[in-house]
């Protein structure tokens, strides 16, 4: 091996990054590997999972959640359903609201922009436990929200104690009170189709409003950064071409914000699938398990049921779900028309220009 002036560089390189490697290995890679092992074992939380009293049980923990009919499977299915409705409502709404707020506070004519930016961002810096506490008061049976609804002549529900799904409530208006026979059975993960189609419960709606309220400020900030990187000359060009504000927003601003949009939706997806704090504070899934989420169920299975293998398996299934959905989202938001956008005339001119320059140099 020839040792030139750059000999040993690689070794030193490893030396320099070794502190980071050790820290990541010790606090990230090692715990994850250990959790993988736990999810395939019958560890009961007594002493180290690598000690003798823990044995390999194959995919039993995963089977209990996905295949074997029983309470474990039903609980997991319920938690996935609850969280699914939460995600499907929170992510689009918080993204739209954040974008709307960002565009508003980015306008030059708006007075007191600093004030509004701070005001909208404020919920994000407050602890989620504190905000949840306030929401529990606001949404209590005789709380401010129901008082407000009362003025409008609406008899508000007992939000936090109402386990009825809103889709079920909706079809009840048309006289459907129980499951039609086609939906009464079947359904994946031990839950009937009727239950899958229940929609978020009234209680879950409170958490959805809460999430949109708290996180849209954070995402507003990200959108604001994206908006400010769009140069003023583009705005001016659009103005010269005579676009109205709506056309400008949908044809100029939104396409240019696509990378930001991707970031916001990805962060939103990951964050919402890990819903935990609010569930912990509102009584661990009550009412009627309609607030149960995979993250909380994993905690409860592990710490209270001492069924650590199943809890870890749940965490990994959640992880796979998030990865799959992120990939799907990436596929949907990919650049479909790369290269196609240039119209024929433009291509002809480029070709002409190229041939002229080529001809000039040869």
């Amino acid at each position: 091996m020839a040792k030139g002036i750059r000999g040993g560089e690689a070794g030193r390189g490893w030396l320099f990054i070794s502190p980071a490697l050790v820290i990541i290995g010790l606090f990230l890679v090692l715990p994850i590997l250990l959790a993988v092992w736990v999810s395939f074992s019958d560890w009961n939380g007594l002493g180290s999972p690598l000690s003798g009293n823990t044995s390999f049980v194959g995919t039993k923990n995963y089977e209990k959640l996905l295949v074997d009919p029983g309470l474990s499977q039903r609980d997991f299915g319920t938690s996935i359903r609850n969280n699914f409705y939460y995600v499907i409502l929170v992510v689009p709404l918080q993204t739209a609201l954040a974008l709307f707020l960002a565009v508003q506070v980015n306008r030059r004519i708006l007075k007191a922009r600093g004030f509004f930016r701070t005001a909208f961002y404020f919920p994000s810096v407050t602890s989620s436990i504190a905000i949840t506490g306030i929401f529990i008061f606001l949404f209590s049976a005789s709380g401010a929200i129901n008082a407000l609804l009362g003025w409008l002549g609406i008899n508000g529900p007992n939000w936090l104690a109402d386990p009825r799904g809103i889709f079920h409530n909706f079809v009840e208006l048309f006289g459907v009170h129980s499951a039609p026979t086609a939906l009464a059975a079947g359904g994946p993960l031990g839950i009937s189709w009727w239950e899958w189609l229940a929609g978020p419960s009234v209680a879950m709606c409170m958490l959805i409003v809460l999430a949109i309220f708290t996180t849209s400020g954070t995402f507003m900030l990200i959108f604001l950064a994206g908006l400010q990187s769009i140069g003023a000359e583009i705005d001016e060009a659009a103005l010269m071409d005579g676009t109205g504000p709506f056309r400008k927003f949908f044809s100029i601003t939104l396409p240019m914000l696509k990378p930001t949009l991707f970031t916001v939706i990805t962060l939103g997806l990951i964050g919402t699938w890990q819903l935990f704090d609010q569930v912990y504070l509102t009584g661990g899934g009550a009412p009627g398990k309609t607030l149960l989420t995979p993250a909380y169920l994993s905690y409860e299975t592990s710490f209270k049921g001492l069924n650590w293998g199943q809890g870890a398996a749940m965490a990994f299934l959640l992880f796979l779900l998030i990865v799959a959905l992120t990939l799907l989202q990436r596929y949907i938001l990919r650049d479909r028309h790369k290269g196609e956008k240039l119209d024929k005339e433009m291509q002809r001119q480029i070709a002409l220009h190229a041939s002229v320059t080529k001809g000039g140099t040869s």
Partner: protein, 411 residues
């Protein structure tokens, strides 16, 4: 090559460091009852309890030559799990009745109680709660039973006297009806197994057969219990706390939204928020199957295989002595777990005598390993009890509880 070796070396170092962090330390002499440093983890109800327990522990520590550090947990179950998983469980801790089965099955607990010199003094129902596979495992530290708590001012205003105190379901229905007004619910309790289950027991039902092998949830007796709850609610005399805008029924009693509630001796905690509410505790009325109530209890848990266990057992002996238990009763109002001390407590605190008396026929709620998730599911299904199908709820409980029981018995 070089880089691979280095990477492997780093991984090995990380692995060893990680494993070292998992193993527990401690060089105490095994079995010694003096010179030990004990940590006690308690789920405290407040400063009064924490300081009383610390004072008692200090007294024992002084006379026996040990030291005890009392730690009040913010989330007892979670902190215990963390301690056991990390190999550093507390040397002595509060063990709730609901978690006991799970802990005992997973061999977390040292079964020291069967050898205690005062093992015969405890209530039998409490010993049964903490018996796992025929072994009396840990010593009960106190207990609470459920009673009927009556707002005495409303009682008098409705023209009722001591002779009207209900002794059966019919009596309960009629006084609840008399106490119900536009603004006050006659009766209130949480819609959960820990309250509704009392009605099932009063109707003569149970959840597990005497031999502990078969689940007996789906029976006419249990159905009668649930039907009674439905009836009370349909009559408009029973309102659940969430319906009258209260967090729990004690709050409803305190602010005058309910005239009667089913709660335990902890009801005195409402004094801080509602000092002007006067109430009286009586025994629950009997159902068609006789008198029944639930007893809830904690024990002093000691981790299995701990080096300090001999000293910890000595401390438990001290803490469960009649004299010390009565001191705890004075300090924070718990009822002693030994029959003799409980009798003394009943004469000293006549307002709580009914709670002591009902322990003679009280049963412990189901608590075998793995039953907690089933009960959580049962509680969730109870939310549909009003206007729903009580039989279907019990049928579902029968299936899930039997599956859990079979699994628990197979281990």
């Amino acid at each position: 090559m070089n880089t691979k070796k280095l990477g492997a070396g780093l991984a090995a170092v990380a692995l060893v460091a990680g494993l070292a962090a998992c193993s527990s330390g401690g060089t105490d002499t095994p079995g010694a009852t003096t010179g030990q440093k004990l940590t006690m983890l308690i789920g405290s109800s407040g400063d009064a309890e924490t300081s009383a327990v610390q004072a008692a522990a200090d007294e024992w520590a002084k006379s026996s030559g040990n030291t005890v550090e009392v730690v009040a947990a913010s989330d007892l179950t979670q902190q215990l799990s963390q301690g056991f998983a990390g190999g550093t469980p507390p040397d002595i801790f509060y063990m709730g009745w609901d978690q006991f089965g799970t802990y005992a099955q997973n061999k977390y607990l040292d079964p020291y109680a069967k050898d205690l010199s005062n093992a015969g003094d405890f209530y039998k129902s409490l010993k049964d709660t903490f018996t796992y596979k025929d072994t009396f495992t840990c010593a009960p530290k106190d207990f609470s039973t459920l009673g009927l708590i009556i707002n005495t001012d409303m009682w008098k205003a409705a023209g009722l006297t001591d002779a009207d105190i209900p002794t059966d379901w019919a009596g309960l229905e009629s006084v609840a009806k008399k106490l119900t007004t536009d603004k006050v619910a006659g009766l209130s309790f949480g819609l959960e197994y820990a309250r509704v289950g009392v009605f099932m027991s009063q109707a003569g039902g149970s959840l597990v057969s005497a031999d502990g092998k078969t689940v007996t949830a789906d029976t006419p007796e249990n159905l009668a219990g649930l039907k009674e709850v439905q009836k009370l609610h349909d009559d408009g005399v029973l309102k659940f706390p969430s319906e009258i805008n209260s967090g729990w029924s004690g709050e409803a009693l305190g602010k005058g939204a309910a005239a009667m509630v089913i709660e335990g001796p902890w009801i005195k905690g409402i004094k801080g928020d509602f000092p002007d509410t006067h109430y009286q505790a009586v025994e629950l009325p009997a159902g068609p199957g006789g008198q029944a109530t639930f007893t809830f209890t904690n024990c002093w848990g000691i981790p299995t295989g701990a080096k300090t266990s001999a000293a910890a057992v000595d401390l438990v002996k001290f803490l469960t002595s009649d004299a010390q238990q009565l001191k705890f009763a004075d300090a924070f109002g718990v009822i002693p777990s030994t029959e003799s001390a409980a009798k003394e407590y009943a004469t000293k605190y006549p307002e709580n005598a009914s709670f002591v008396k009902s322990n003679d026929y009280a049963v412990s709620p189901v608590n075998f390993a793995g039953s907690a998730t089933v009960i959580t599911d049962f509680n969730a299904q109870l939310a549909t009890l009003i206007g729903g199908n009580a039989k279907a709820i019990l049928a579902s409980l029968q299936t899930t509880l039997q599956a859990a029981l079979d699994e628990a018995n197979s281990k």
